[in-house]
Each structure stands twice: as structure tokens, then as C-alpha cells.
Amino acid sequence: MNDEKLEDIKVVSTVSFVIMLAGTIMGVGAEADNIRTGKVSLWWLVLIFGILTVISFAVVVISSRILKKRQGQSYFSTMMYIEAILEMFFPSLLGSRSAKLKKINVSDKNKKSKLWKDMCVGCDIDNIISFILWFVLWSVCVWMVIKYIFFVDGDDNIFNIASFSVVSIALTIVLICVASGIKKNPMPIFEYMDISKVKFKELAKHYDMADKVTHKIWMDYKYVFIQSNGKAYCIPVEDYIDMTITFSRFRFVMVLTSTYDCVVKSSFSPAGFQKLKTMLETFHNK
């Protein structure tokens, strides 16, 4: 089995571990209610979820060990994945020092450019609206936990507390990530400038010439400018590697991989993403 397949197994089993753990926690809650009210016991279902949780965790550990042994120094651990994901949502925390300095040293002339005004400063309205909606959903779930603990007597109390707690924890993480995108953050652009030594005014020139592909994606012959969750990305067309579009219940998620960056963006319609993919592949193959 090659390294790529093993990496895929590691990722899938990590996802499986999280889901089975959530199922086990809910199951323990349901079983506690069943014991209390004398309903039929579902201990076998708790056992099944528990076993699947343990198996998933074992697969993660085993695949990690094998990959570490095979790849040695170039092994990419789970912690490094988490760091990379955090960098995606909070680029200011882990951005390089020179990129930070570059951001501070943008000249007044460059600050008048459209690129600076559109993508580098101010607040992202979409993220503000998104934050409000997520906050409402998060508040409702947290209220349901509090209600079932303190204010309601019923048969499914512990099950409901466990279920809503699992969801509340997930929504807290989502809320923090969405909140991180309210203020526009151009760190990814400055990181790219730091690596490629291209100047801001050059990028601004290309941004002025770029056409709008879809909501918050612009492209000219040389660069693609993307705004996702408040972060501003600049991807050179020649660095394009791959783009995948995944569908999950009325939500399409695009993952754009280039040499130095990875952009994740979601939308209700895949049309814009398909258009971008076609344009990138056409320009890249030329």
C-alpha cells in the first residue's frame, strides 16, 4: 500500500473516530435515560459504536506509525495538519515575521489601490451575517442543553443533553472560525509576496485587470484573487495544481491547491467553481 493511500486511510479513520465518538456519547446518554425510565436497553448499540470508535482510533495510530517509519524526516504528523488548518483560519498568528513587516510597510500609494481597499482592509459583510446566523444556532443549542439540565423533567433528558452538547462543541469551533473572518486579513497575500518577492503594486495592477469569475473570486491571465472567510489569497495561475469540488447536502466546498497555498471556499452553487476550474485548466495548459 503506497503512502498516498495510507494518508487517505489515516484521514478517513480520523473523521470516523470523531463521528463514532459522538455516537457513543449520545448512546451513553440514551442508555442512561432507558435505565431511568425502564425502557428497553440499547446497550448493544452503545457497544457497537464504542467498538467502532476504538477501531478507528487504532487505525489512525497504526497508519501514523507506518507513515512515520516510512517517511522519516518528511513525515507530516496530525499535529502539523492541525497547525496548518489553524494557519488557514488565523494566518496572522503563524505568519512569517517578514510577511508581517511587509504588511505594516505598505506605502500610502499602494493603500489607495483597489486591491488594498477591497481585500485587505475593512470588514467582510458576508462573514458578519454568517456569524450572526451561526451565533443564533449556537445560542439555541446551548439553551437546549441548559434547559434540559435545569428546567425540564422528561424521559429523554440525558440523551438530549448529550446530543446538544456534542453539537454545541462543534458549533463553538465553527463560531470561532467564522469570527476570525469578520475582519479582512491579507496575510496570505503577504506570505506569497514574501516567498515570491513580487511587489504589492504588481499584484494591484493585476487585480485591476482581473475579471470577476464568481462571488469573491477574480482572475486575470496571471493571478487568481480569492477572498474566503475574510482571508485574501493570491494564487498564480502557473502554480495551480488541483481543484476539487465536494458536495454535501446543498453545500459545495471547493479546495484549490497551488504550490504554496490551499484555499477552501464554500457556496450553495457549484457553477462559479466549475467556471474557475475550467479557466484555470485552460490557462494552465496554455
Binding site: 484521514v11 432507558n34 440499547l42 496548518a84 488548518i85 440523551f159 446530543s163 456534542v166 447536502r249 490551499c262
Partner: protein
């Protein structure tokens, strides 16, 4: 349609109150007896004493009756709850009341609150079911609920079994979508992170090397460009650039050749097809003057 309901929680409170009242009455009985005992027996006080004794007896009886009523009422409540549990087999409507005075008018609103809670629950979980990731939690919750429903009933119906199968199908679909998304993101961020880390390291090394070269140049008294090491580095970089250009040119040439070959193949095929059609129906040099259709028809006739 009339419906029968006992507000059990309120009644339990009433039972407790009655027990307390019975105890209070017992205390009154003792007090009355004490007072009656302290009154000295006299012609004038005889009737008072008699009346007090009679009252004491009545109060004692009432206290005993009240205690009995309270215990019997408790038994009725327990019997009612067990009967309801057995009949419904789903959820016991426990009449929650904040009104400790036991207003029986709120008994109906306890039911309504419970069903409103269930509706709110279902609405929240439906919304969560549309969110990638959280839809798996919603599917798992649905599996638990459906299994409970099936096992609490007598015999699983076809509908219930189909429901369970659909729940597992939805969980599988959502899990596959989530795993696929996680794989794509993991691949992307790993590639980008490794490349950007390597690029930053290379930049750092190049900066360090340039610093060292400048230092060395300043020691020998020459400019950076004149030192042998720097000249070698420039030569190597130019060579690499030329190789890359050549490789690019070769790639373009191969692409062009491929396109040309494909074009020619298409032309050739079209030509051959046209010739075959002509040969079938007209006399040509290739079919020696006899259209190919004639021998084909003769063969068909022979076979019949």
C-alpha cells in the same frame, strides 16, 4: 371528545399538605385533652369538660380520616401513573407545574409544552442536518430514536425497518462526503505547507549565503559579483534556467506534434470511409470494376 387526566404532581403536593394537616390536627387533639384534663370537675365545668372531650374525639377522627385519605390518594396516583405508562408505552406525561397551589387548569398546558418542545427539537435537528459534518450527528441521533421506537413497540413494522435502513444510508452518504472533503483539504494543505516551508527555508539559506559572500568579498576587497564563488553560483543558475527553457520548448514541440498526428489520423479515417462507400456502390479500380454490393447480395441470396 372528552379526555381524562390527573394532574399527578399537584396531587402529590396536596397529599403532603393533607398529611401535615393530619399531624396538626393530632397536636390539637393533645392540646384539647390537656385543657380538658386541667379543668377541675365541678358542676359548672362538667358540661365544658364533656364538650371538650367530644371535640377532641371528633378532631382525632378527622385527623385519622385525613391521614387515611392522604395515603389512599397516594396509592391512586401511583396506580394511575403505572396504568398510563403501560397504556402509552412511549412517554409519561409528567405534569410539571410551577404552580405549587395545584391549579388543575394547567394540566392541559403541560402536554402542550411537551409537544412544543418536541417540535422545536425536530426543527433544530432538521436545520443541523443541512450542515456538513453536523449532519452525521443528526443522522446518528435519528438512528437512536428510531431504534428506541422499534424496540419499545411490540413488533417492528415494515415502515419502521425502512426508516432505520434510510437512516443508515443517510449516515453513510454524509460520512463519505465528509471523509472525501477531509481528504481533499488534507492533501491540499499538506502540499502547500510543505512547499511554502521549503521556499521559506530556501529564502533563508539564500539570504545567509549572500551575507557570507558579501563578508568574504569585503575581506578580499572585491565586490560580491567578482568573487569566484558568486560567479560560479551565477553560472549554475543560468545553466538551470537554460535547461528549464529547453525542457519547456521540448514540451511545446511534443504537444504540437501530438496535435498534428491526431489531425492526420482523423483525415485518413475519413478518406478511407469515403472510399469504402464509393467501392460499395460504384465500379472503381480498387473493386476491379464490380461494385462490392453485388457479391454481397449474391451471398445473402445463397444463404437465404
Amino acid at each position: 371528545m372528552a379526555s381524562f387526566k390527573i394532574h399527578t404532581k399537584a396531587l402529590k403536593n396536596e397529599c403532603e399538605t393533607m398529611s401535615e394537616e393530619a399531624q396538626t390536627l393530632s397536636k390539637y387533639v393533645e392540646e384539647i385533652d390537656q385543657i380538658a384534663a386541667q379543668i377541675s370537675l365541678d358542676r359548672s365545668t362538667a358540661s365544658v369538660k364533656k364538650t371538650l372531650q367530644s371535640i377532641s374525639k371528633d378532631v382525632r377522627t378527622e385527623s385519622a380520616n385525613l391521614a387515611l385519605f392522604s395515603s389512599k390518594l397516594n396509592e391512586v396516583i401511583v396506580q394511575y401513573e403505572n396504568a398510563e405508562k403501560n397504556i402509552t408505552k412511549e412517554s409519561i406525561v409528567q405534569n410539571t407545574t410551577d404552580d405549587k397551589s395545584g391549579d388543575e387548569g394547567t394540566a392541559g398546558s403541560g402536554d402542550e409544552t411537551q409537544s412544543e418542545d418536541n417540535e422545536t427539537n425536530e426543527m433544530i435537528w432538521t436545520i443541523l442536518g443541512f450542515i456538513p459534518g453536523l449532519n452525521c450527528a443528526a443522522d446518528i441521533r435519528q438512528i437512536w430514536k428510531d431504534f428506541q421506537k422499534i424496540l419499545d413497540g411490540d413488533k417492528p413494522t415494515v415502515g419502521e425497518i425502512m426508516g432505520i435502513l434510510m437512516d443508515f444510508a443517510f449516515l453513510a452518504m454524509d460520512f463519505i462526503a465528509l471523509a472525501s472533503l477531509a481528504k481533499n483539504i488534507a492533501k491540499g494543505i499538506k502540499a502547500a505547507k510543505v512547499a511554502s516551508t521549503a521556499a521559506k527555508e530556501a529564502t533563508k539559506k539564500a539570504a545567509k549565503a549572500a551575507k557570507t559572500a558579501t563578508k568574504a568579498a569585503s575581506k578580499t576587497g572585491g565586490t560580491v559579483a567578482k568573487t569566484k564563488a558568486a560567479q560560479k553560483a551565477v553560472k549554475t543558475a543560468k545553466k538551470a534556467e537554460n535547461t528549464a527553457k529547453k525542457a519547456e520548448a521540448a514540451k511545446e514541440a511534443a504537444k504540437a506534434a501530438k496535435k498534428e498526428a491526431a489531425k492526420n489520423a482523423v483525415k485518413e479515417t475519413a478518406k478511407k470511409t469515403a472510399e469504402n462507400v464509393v467501392d460499395k456502390y460504384a465500379p472503381t479500380e480498387r473493386n476491379h470494376g464490380i461494385p462490392n454490393k453485388i457479391p454481397e447480395d449474391a451471398r445473402d441470396q445463397m444463404i437465404g
